[in-house]
């Protein structure tokens, strides 16, 4: 399964190599050409029809890099992207793409003062234990400052349709985009599949890809937050897992182009695809930044609901993911029919 391969691949912002390689291998048979740019975006072109459509999914995930190696042989980390400190202690990590195993230790509960027990452990106090006894031992492993560090989470099925894995934000989007490329061709469209870098640190890869591609319209494909879980008011769940792909109304980076948004909703209705809106306006997606390139690019975001994103392990329902693929195909058919007017 593409999602499994992508979720297990490692790629923090700026070090997306493994994800890029997996996408290249899996998708080469389905596209006409592919290339990379100075930032590392992987662009694939399928078809050469009159309407240029950019579909964006970012390859990078949140994680860490080695900030310092202590003389005792521990690693101090720096965060790459937004992470909740409270989910970190006690996690297993992989250091570098070579997956050198390590753990984020925490002082035993028994040794903590009453005050320490009430507080979240500050990130500054966390470190990775590789089992090394000195800095020299760490260096002998080939670990350098700046090397990436990942959550050591392996993809698995919790049920036939619900899967667990790391980095569903945005490997879910990458899997949707891969699924679109593997599916029917759209001869009326030049489809640019932009697997972009550095979304988590400021929507950076997609903007330069959009500048280069200069598409007529763009859709960002995302794994988005989801909280239909105990203790959350049903009005505040953002999205609900298992209730279909998500069309964005607004987020922190922008408001979707109305024509693209309407066309997506019509496509879902006509095809009988269950869909939902994203009921949260914070959090930014690439679409908002793509919209600002050159003279302006009509853009919207379509997402897959993922519980527990930006942690070590998230859950998603494959029905939502497949629904998103189907929604995009129906949307592209409408574009081919001339229903999108630039």
């Amino acid at each position: 399964m593409l999602l499994e391969k992508l979720s297990n691949a490692c790629g923090v912002s700026g070090r997306e190599d493994e994800v890029r390689e997996a996408l290249r291998q899996e998708l080469a048979p389905y596209v006409d050409e592919m290339w990379t740019d100075p930032l590392g975006n992987l662009i694939m072109r399928k078809g050469d029809g009159p309407v240029k459509v950019m579909l964006d999914a970012h390859m990078d995930e949140v994680g860490f890099c080695v900030g310092d190696i202590t003389s005792e042989g521990y690693l101090k980390l720096k965060k790459i992207g937004g992470l909740d400190d409270r989910v970190l202690p006690g996690r297993e990590v992989w250091v570098t793409q070579r997956r050198i195993p390590g753990v984020l230790g925490a002082k035993a509960w028994h040794l903590c003062s009453a005050e320490e027990r009430r507080k979240a452990i500050p990130f500054k106090e966390m470190y990775v234990d590789l089992g090394c006894r000195s800095r020299a031992e760490v260096e002998a492993l080939g670990v350098e400052l700046g090397d990436p560090v990942y959550f050591a989470t392996i993809f698995e099925h919790f049920s036939p349709r619900v899967v667990k894995g790391k980095a569903f934000d945005d490997r879910a989007g990458c899997a949707v985009l891969g699924g679109v490329l593997q599916g029917e061709a759209h001869p009326g469209i030049t489809l640019y599949a932009a697997f972009t870098v550095q979304e988590e640190i400021g929507l950076r890869g997609a903007r330069v890809a959009a500048y280069n591609l200069n598409p007529d319209l763009a859709i960002s494909l995302e794994g988005t937050g989801c909280a239909n879980v105990p203790g959350v008011d049903p009005k505040e769940t953002i999205t609900n897992m298992g209730e279909g792909p998500v069309i964005s109304l607004m987020d922190a980076a922008g408001i979707p182009n109305l024509q693209v948004f309407n066309l997506l909703v019509e496509a879902a209705r006509e095809a009988g695809i269950r869909y939902q809106f994203r009921r949260l306006t914070s959090g930014g997606t690439n679409a908002g930044r793509i919209a600002l390139e050159r003279a302006g690019i009509p853009a919207c975001t379509v997402s897959v609901p993922c519980r527990y994103i930006h942690t070590n392990a998230a859950l998603l329902n494959l029905d939502d993911l497949e629904g998103a693929v189907s929604l995009i195909h129906h949307f592209l058919r409408k574009v081919e029919k001339g229903e999108f007017r630039p």
């Binding site: 072109r45 890099c65 101090k76 790459i80 280069n212």
Partner: protein
């Protein structure tokens, strides 16, 4: 070239953020023998072009015409030899006169990240019709309550006393006049110097070292030495617009970083042991590798500086200009950032300049191609 005296000239020039003309003009005249041509951009950045061997590059042709909408493989670089841009921001923090009070006292506001803890009793110079010395006035301790003594006075309550009569002040000082800390260019021990504005004149001096070095080093790449305006304001306006115009294949931000001193533990680097080379998403991995190789080939010390996101330098803006640029970050360790006693080691400036020159010399079409291959 005497590096120390050049650095002394650079810190002497007035160049607060948004008012960089005096320094940009100084660079135009001082660096003229080292570049083929130079210009000052509409935003106040200096650009000096040193052409590669056989290159016909010219500043007047910037920006190049946009390429037409190409259908296939639209990531194509403009024709001609490789272009390496190195940006050192030439603006600096300071103040601006906001009002003239009865008695000729000047109210002022800060420009950029001024450390307000250092303002009281600071000697300043006000750049009006002439350079006027002044003092940031304070109430005498005898008239200050014990509680007030531990309170930081907000900048709105501070004023500059020039000792001049009000009518003369009104004649000499227009509103908006730049306020700079007064300084001495101090030679400390071991090739270390202390002054205002080593952030970021140290890096401008490193560009100068690179230009000197390139007189004797062969290179086919065109080298654009940019003194960028506006960095301390945020948004990197000077570097971003210069990058848009130049469309470089490689863009290096040269800036200062924190040097170790008592009380600084994490994220600081030794003085005098070479520049830092940035590593992280703002730094092209292959370019970073090339910079490290060059430093090692030259037998030059360096430290890796881990930058997990925004590097806080011009490189953050330059990386995402147009279709994206391979960027790198080179920094000179500096103690006491944003104080009037910023301290650097000339050896680090020389090393950064040499590293830059050798990068220009090593840049060819194959390297440029390689930087886009992931």
């Amino acid at each position: 070239m005497d590096l120390a005296s050049h650095l002394a000239d650079l810190v002497a020039a007035s160049s607060i953020t948004g008012r960089e003309e005096p320094l940009a003009q100084l660079l135009q005249s001082e660096w003229a023998p080292l570049v083929d041509e130079s210009t000052v951009t509409p935003l106040g950045s200096y650009i000096g072009l040193k052409r590669g061997e056989g290159s016909a590059a010219a500043l007047r042709s910037l920006p190049l015409p946009d390429k037409p909408g190409v259908l296939k493989h639209p990531h194509a670089r403009p024709p001609g030899p490789p272009r390496v841009l190195a940006a050192a921001h030439i603006d600096s923090i300071g103040g601006m006169v906001t009002a003239i009070e009865p008695g000729g006292f000047l109210r002022f506001t800060t420009v950029g990240g001024v450390d307000r803890r250092l303002l009281m009793a600071q000697e300043v110079e006000v750049h009006g019709a002439r350079v006027i010395p002044g003092l940031v006035g304070t109430k005498p301790p005898h008239a200050t309550s014990p509680e007030d003594r531990s309170r930081l006075v907000p900048v709105e309550e501070l004023y500059i006393d020039t000792g001049l009569p009000e009518d003369e002040v009104r004649k000499l000082v227009p509103l908006g006049a730049p306020v700079l800390p007064r300084f001495r260019f101090r030679k400390l021990q071991n090739g270390r110097y202390s002054s205002r504005y080593m952030d970021n004149r140290a890096s401008a001096a490193a560009l100068r070292v690179a230009l000197e070095e390139l007189r004797t080093l062969r290179h086919t790449a065109d080298f654009y030495a940019v003194g960028s305006a506006g960095e301390e304001f945020g948004g990197m306006p000077g570097a971003v617009t210069a990058t848009f115009a130049i469309q470089p294949d490689i863009a290096i931000a040269v800036d200062v970083t924190f040097a170790k001193h008592p009380g600084s533990e994490e994220d600081s680097f030794p003085l005098g042991e070479g520049p830092t080379i940035g590593v992280g998403p703002n730094c092209s991995p292959k370019l970073t590798r090339v910079l490290r190789e060059i430093a090692e080939d030259l037998g030059m010390g360096y430290a890796l500086e881990v930058l997990p996101g925004n590097s806080g330098t011009d490189a953050w803006g330059m990386q995402v200009v147009r279709g994206g640029v391979a960027t790198g970050v080179l920094s000179i360790p500096l103690r006491y950032m944003h104080t009037p006693v910023e301290t650097v080691d000339l050896a680090d400036i020389r090393a950064a300049g040499r590293l830059l020159a050798h990068l220009v010399s090593r840049t060819d079409a194959a390297l440029v191609e390689e930087l886009s291959c992931y």
